[in-house]
């Protein structure tokens, strides 16, 4: 259900936060299959270690999927997602619990559309920022 009302939106409005269950290696294998990203760094420990890592790491795009879910839980299906971007800041590994938060940074009208920009952060349980993102939503 969409909770967005254009009039009530303002800079600083927070999105309901999204807490994801701990990432598992099984999830990474499922994600590799579903997304088609078969870089062995995400499921082959030997390969990951040859790359200088301690073990397998999560797909950055899995974190971006969580960033996307934060936004779609808030805005879909009533409002339109115009743009979504994510910058990957730190490695995520199996066992990490990722929490995404977001808040409105800009409310404006352009080409007859009512738009908001949202800034997003993904953090692990230690509080490290693993990704930052932004989204633009056209509010109906």
């Amino acid at each position: 259900m969409s909770q967005i009302s254009w009039d009530a939106l303002e800079e600083g409005t927070e999105l309901p936060k999204l807490v994801k269950p701990a990432i598992t290696t099984t999830q990474l294998v499922k994600y590799a299959g579903a997304s088609g990203d078969f870089n062995p760094i995400h499921y082959d420990k030997d390969f990951a270690q040859q790359a200088g890592l301690d073990g397998v790491i999560a797909h950055g795009m899995l974190t971006m999927a969580f960033v996307g879910q934060l936004v779609t839980d808030w805005a879909w299906p009533d409002h339109e997602l115009v743009k979504l971007s994510t910058r990957f800041r730190a490695i995520t590994v199996p066992g990490d619990e990722i929490t995404c938060t977001g808040k409105v940074t800009k409310k404006y009208e352009e080409d007859g559309k009512k738009l908001v920009n949202v800034a997003i952060e993904a953090k692990n349980a230690k509080g490290d920022v693993t990704a930052t993102g932004s989204a633009t939503i056209a509010v109906s």
């Binding site: 994801k20 269950p21 999830q27 499922k30 994600y31 299959g33 579903a34 997304s35 088609g36 990203d37 870089n39 062995p40 760094i41 390969f47 040859q50 790359a51 200088g52 797909h59 950055g60 795009m61 899995l62 971006m64 999927a65 969580f66 996307g68 879910q69 936004v71 779609t72 839980d73 879909w76 299906p77 339109e80 997602l81 115009v82 743009k83 979504l84 971007s85 994510t86 910058r87 990957f88």
Partner: protein, 140 residues
């Protein structure tokens, strides 16, 4: 003389052959399951795809990485951006056209890194559906 095996800047702007991707309901469900998103929009007879589902058509990016002889062990996904023109849904036959959008070299604590941005234009029946931009960091 530098011994850098960096990527030749002359490749910027290079376009690669288009390829098609046919969107299937089952793939959308498998993707939603892998990212742990139980939004009802991704279920049922008439679903749409989660925003980062567009990563499933990243083949063109891997074609580019292969063409440039990039070692996947030396690569990290730095940033991803999507511009959406409409949601992706089952039955869509998407035409994806990849190109190399930019290449920058930067000195970092870990040595020289190449930041390669690829762009994939995704259309259906000549109508723009989505533009995907991906930036990867490559250690020399």
């Amino acid at each position: 003389m530098s011994e850098s095996k960096g990527i030749d800047p002359g490749v910027v702007g290079k376009e690669y052959p288009s390829y098609t991707f046919e969107v299937e309901k089952g793939r959308i469900r498998a993707f939603a399951d892998a990212i742990g998103d139980d939004n009802s929009l991704y279920q049922g007879d008439d679903p749409i795809a989660p925003p980062t589902f567009a990563t499933c058509f990243r083949d063109g990016e891997f074609t580019i990485l292969q063409d440039l002889n990039v070692d996947l062990r030396k690569l990290l996904h730095g940033e991803q951006e999507y511009e959406y023109h409409r949601p992706i849904k089952p039955g869509d036959v998407l035409t994806c056209t990849p190109r190399i959008a930019s290449l920058k070299s930067k000195e970092t604590k870990k040595g020289t890194m190449d930041f390669l941005t690829t762009e994939v234009q995704i259309t259906a029946n000549d109508e723009l559906v989505c533009v995907a931009r991906s930036t990867v960091a490559i250690r020399h």
